[in-house]
Structures are given as C-alpha cells and as structure tokens.
Amino acid sequence: MPVYIARKLAFFLLAVFAASVLIFLLIRGAGGNVAAVILGKDATAEAINALSRQYGLDRPLPVQYFDWIGNLFRGDLGRSFRTNEPVTDLVVSRLSISIPLCLSGLVLGLLIAIPAGTYSALNSDKPVGALIALLSQVGIAVPVFWAGILLSLLFGVRLGWLPTGGWTNWDSNFWGAVRSLVLPVISLGLILGASLTRYVRSAVLDVMNQDYVRTARATGMTRMQALLRVGLRNAALPIATVVGLQIAELIGGTVIIETVFSLPGLSRMILANVAAREVIVVQSTVMLIIVFVMLVNLIVDLLYGVLDPRVRLTR
C-alpha cells in the first residue's frame, strides 16, 4: 500500500505541475498580450505597457511562471484588475458558499441514490423497482434550473417557508445562510440523486449477477445479506468513480443553480470574470479548481486501493 500511495502522489504532483504550465501557456499563448486583453481593444500602447509593468507581465515567461506558482503556494492568487481586491479573498468568500452547496447536494444525492438504487436493483423484477428506475430516468431528464424554479415557486412563493433566493452571510446570520442554501441543495440533490440512482442500480445489478454472489446465496444468504457481505465492496468501485467525477464537476459547475437562486458562488464568479477579461483572476481560479479536481481523483484512486486489493498490487 505505501508504494501504491507514493506512486499516486508522485503522479498527482506531476499532473499538477503539467496543468499549471499548460494553463499559464494557454492564457498567454491563446489570448495574446495579457495586458491588452485586460484593457480591451481601445487601450493605448502606453496603458498596455503601464499595466504590463504593474503586473510584471513584461518579464521573461519563466520568471512570470515561477513568480505565479510561488505566490500560489503562499496563498496569493493575485489581484483583480477591476476592483484591486485580492483574488484569494474573493475565492475564499465564494468557496464558503460553493463548498457547502456542493457537498450538501452530493450528500443528499447519495442519501437518495444509495437506498433507491440498491432497492431498485434488488427488486428489478418487481413493479416498484421499475418505478424507481423510471423516476430516476425522469429526474435525469429534468433540467436543474427547472427543478430550482419549481421548488422556489412552491416553497418560496406559494408556501413562504424558505427564501426564493439570495444569500445571507454565514457571519451575519448563520441560520439565514442555512435557509438560503436549503432549496439550492434540494434542487441539486434531487437531480444528482436521480442520476446517481442509475449508477448505483447498475453497479448493484452487476455484482448481484456475479458468481461469487450466487455462491454466497447458495450458502443460504438472502439477496441483501449476499450484497452486504460480498457484493458491496465491488459495487462501491464504480460508484466511487462517479462520485469523484461529480464532486469535481460540481465545484465549478453549479452556475445554473447559483444563478437561479442568486447565490454569489464560485461558478458565477468565474463566469463574470471570464466575461470581464479578468485574466489574472481566471488563471488563478482555474488552477485552484484543477488542483481540487486532481485531489479528488487522488482520493478516489487511494480509495480504490482500499476497496480492491488487486488495484494496489497492479504495477
């Protein structure tokens, strides 16, 4: 196991380094002069030169790269051109919304998907199993914004139980912040739950048809006992993969939910900064997201090793 962990860690570090170089070169290569991109087409040469000096963009590329990476390690993501605010502060404030939103949505999705998918698989030959499969299919087809609007109309407008949108800061009103997140989390959780139910169902169905489960059942175990004792670890492998991918996708990909519920999360921040040509903010934020995604993948890989000993023995 230590060798397996070391190998995965080394790969993670190498991938992060490659990604950082790629982002750095893509931003500079594809966009042209960064200062000119930030200032727009009307900018004078003097203004572009001044901004280049201000941001150190007139230095050799390797110097700029190591400066950027060094600052990243120190937690300094640069400053916004438009507002001069530290990007780190902006990202941290947005993560205080995006992380609870994504994690709570995912947990809710799993709370729906694991029992529903398992039950559906174990009862695939019964009407209720088919109904769960049907409902999950419907859930997958429902656009997340539509679910959000319906929930907002029902619980916000019609019943008045929860805010229809907007955000209350954690430090100003903790329960207000929780209330702000309830409907977005339910919208996200329902849609995620629907799609994860499909994966859980098919993973469980797959292991239930394996010889070792059949053998276990021949010893007198019920379907549930056989699943819990010998099938669960194997069924968990594809589910862990999908959950890992979902986490990675969620952290920067909840822009629709954030828009429908007017939450100032990370996704909307990135979108707004792309539109405003905030190159420095985009470069650093994208790098952070990539590191996060790779970290999640690393954890999933390590989890494979725990769940399936064959994986950690494979060279």
Partner: protein
Amino acid sequence: MTIFRTMRHGLSLLVAGSALLAAVPGIALAASPRADEGKMILVARQDPGTLDYTKSNLTALRLWIPANVVEPLVYFNKDGSVSPGVAEAWEISEDRLVYTFTIREAKFSDGAPVTVEDVIYSLNTMKASPVSQNAAAYQAVTSIEKVDDRTVRVTLDRPSQNFWRGMGGTAGLIQPEAAAGGIATNPIGTGPYKLVNYTSNSSFEFTANENYWGEAPAIKDVTVRIVTDGTAGLNALEAGEVDALPVITIDLWEQLMARGLDKSFSMVTYPQIGEPTYAVFNQKLDPELRQALAMTLDRQAYNDAFGASWGAENTCTFALPNQAWYAPENPETCPYPYDIEKAMALVAEKGYASTPLVYASLSDVPDLSLPADIMVPTMQAAGFNMTRNAIDLARYSQLIFQGRPPQFDVTVMSGDADPTQWACAEASAAGWSTYCSAEYTQALADADKALSDEDYLALMEKSADILRKDAVIVPIIAKKGVGLFDPDLKGFVEPRVSVAIELAPLHW
C-alpha cells in the same frame, strides 16, 4: 400488466403533484415586514462588477451609485429647473465661458470635509475618463481652478451645453481624492446614502449617510439584491422577500402579466430608464443599400412583439419621449418607412443580393436577440444576402463596441438616448458606436455652442434630422422604463442623474 398499472399510478402521482403545486394557495400579499423596520429591499438585474464610475459606464452601476452615494455639482430637474448638489450656488458668465461654483460646506460619507481640491480632482478625473460620455462634457474646458476655499472656476474656450448638462450627470460627480483608491468597491460621496457593502453577484447594502447635508432619507437601510435570473426576481417579489423591481426587462413581461403581478403591485413607467432600440448599419456600406435595409424595419411588428405593453412608441428619432427633439413615427420624421416591396425592388435593381452581409446579434441579452429574430428573416425575405452571427456579450463588446473599423454590417442595440455619443470627427475612428459624418458632428457642435436653451433644442432637432436621413443609426422603438413596486412603497421620482434610481424619496 402490474408494471403498467404501477407506471400509470406513478404518472398519476406526477400529474397530481403538478396540480397540487398549482393549487397550493399563494401567500396573501401582506404589508412588507420591512416597512416598520425602516428598511427596503430592491432587485437589480445586473451586476456591475466594479463601482468605478470614472472608468465604467455600465447601467448596472449608474442605477445605484450616482445621486444616492455620489452627487453631482447640480441636479437638473424634470421641469427644466436646476437644483443645488455639491455646489450650493453657481454663476454663469454672459458669454457662457466661465462657470463659478460655490462648494457646499458639507462632509463626505466618510466624515472628511468636501474641499475645493476634491472638486477639482473629481472634475479632472472625469475630464480624463475613458468613458467618452464623461470626457465629452469637458471638451471645451480649458481650466479648472481654485478661486478660494469654497469656490471653483471652470473656464471654457467656447460655450458648451454639454459641459453644463454634464455637471448634473455622471461627468459632474464629486468624490474625495483621498478615498479614490477604493472607488471600485466603495465609492464615497456626499449623497443621502453611503455604501456599507458591495458583494459582486450578490448585493449592495446602503445605509443613510449621517453626514448628508440635506434631509435624511425616510428609509434608513436599503439592500439591492442582485438577481440576474428574471423569474427568480419575480418570485422574490411575489414571496414578499423584496419590495420592488425598479427595472423590469422585456423578457419578463409575458410572465409578469400571466402571474398578475401588474395588478398586485404598483407599476411605474418612466422614460429616463427607457431606451431607444435601434438598428445600426455599417456606415461604410453604400448609402442606398442602407436606405433599402431601413425599409425592411417594420416598427409596428417590433412594437407588437416586444414593446406595446411597455408603453413603447414607434419612432424614427434617436431620442426618448422626455427629450424635446423626440418625435413619434410619422411621415415627416421617417424618411425610409417600412416598405418591403420597395426594398425588394431596390435589392433587385441594384444587385444587393450579391453583397454578403453579416448581422451581429447578441446571444445572451434577450432584449437584443429578440429583435434580431424579426429583422434577419425580413431582410433575407427582401433579398439581402444576410447571415446571422450570434455572439455573447463579452465577445460583442470586444468586436462591436471596440471594433475599429466596423466589423459587422448590421446589428441592433438598445442604449442611452444621447445623440452626442455618435459624434466622430475623424473617419479613422469609425466604429459601431461612432458615426463619422462631418455634417452630423458639426450640427452637434453647433448645438453644444448654443447660448440659449431654445437654440440648443432647435439645433438638436437638426442633428436628429441628419441622423434619420443618413440611415446609419435607425431607431425602431422608444421603450420606457418599467418598475414594479410594493403598493405601500411610495415616492418614486423619475431619475435626474443619468438613470439613477433615487432611493431617498422612497418611503413606506
């Protein structure tokens, strides 16, 4: 059969669920809980990203900061009178070349006194502003100087209506020099409110400025929640979470009517926040081709589809109904009225079908993508070889607003009804936002130099005539601004400084 029965039950449940949602009674519209707390919450549909009004001209910024937080030197009222702002008095020399402002003994919201140096700094900053509408007000200004501790003198090399009117607009906004570094997130001024917090994509929070020189606003705390999704904004209003949507956009109209919100809330219409919607033709195209294109614009079709319910008028004049040179569509003011057959004949006669034309349309701004849905097929039906290129706002800003020379042939825009924005003295500066016509630019310059209001208006009418005749900027409809307010929230006044929604007069 069992499966089908279960599925049928499932579908029945879904239908029942939907019906239940529709049948659940809405919460009755009660008095706003904020009325007794001296608070109100409004909705903004766009996030400005930056509050630096010296560098940004975004409506999303001009709606909230001018007049509320940062005041101009003077205010131009609806009836044409002028009220004091940061300047408590002013003198204009007879030849209109020297303006002497007496600065009010007041404090900025951060407690610092307003000084002549701050005023000079502010005016010089606006003079050098990259926002052309701000800088344009200062074209005739030769010096801005201190006379004494309370007096500033501005000298012009020619009379300029733009300067004087600019002092009541964003060009005349006064900020403290010492706080200029924080203007992008926390602009400081002498207005009735101060900005407590601005969180991008979330909200503005204002509170009454205890240093305000005038009467304290009736409502102490104001939150402007940024809700970019229109339906979410209407939901919040209907749920009683917010008290007003002062700016309703066209994409919400149908939904608003269907939900009966126009009846349960007070609706106000006002021209200032309205916008003319106009087609822009590449000024380098053959004039006759432009005229033929103009004949494909069926104003009534646009009005029926997008504008009628908003009190929009068909017009061929680049102006809004509150501007004196405005005229609704009529034979005298529409040199190229809608005439598809004449347009087709011209296309055939001149062989315009062989000229490939590109229509740049905004993909993510409904007000501007919807007109394109009508314009492009009509132009194609008339025989023009028109291709639609749908691009998002960020790309559009780069290509269209900043593109020199013009990079597309036709587009449609909505925006400020300020005819001076098109003025362009040098052909090399031709773009989609500048019309480089010597005649038009001269007419505007003459209007600017007018010594009396009457002369000014007459010359502005002449400028409008030139714009109509040349078929480069071709107005379609003049939309009014529309706002929805809680019926108990009174006191709305039409904007005086640009499009700013004045918060201070609002009261429960």
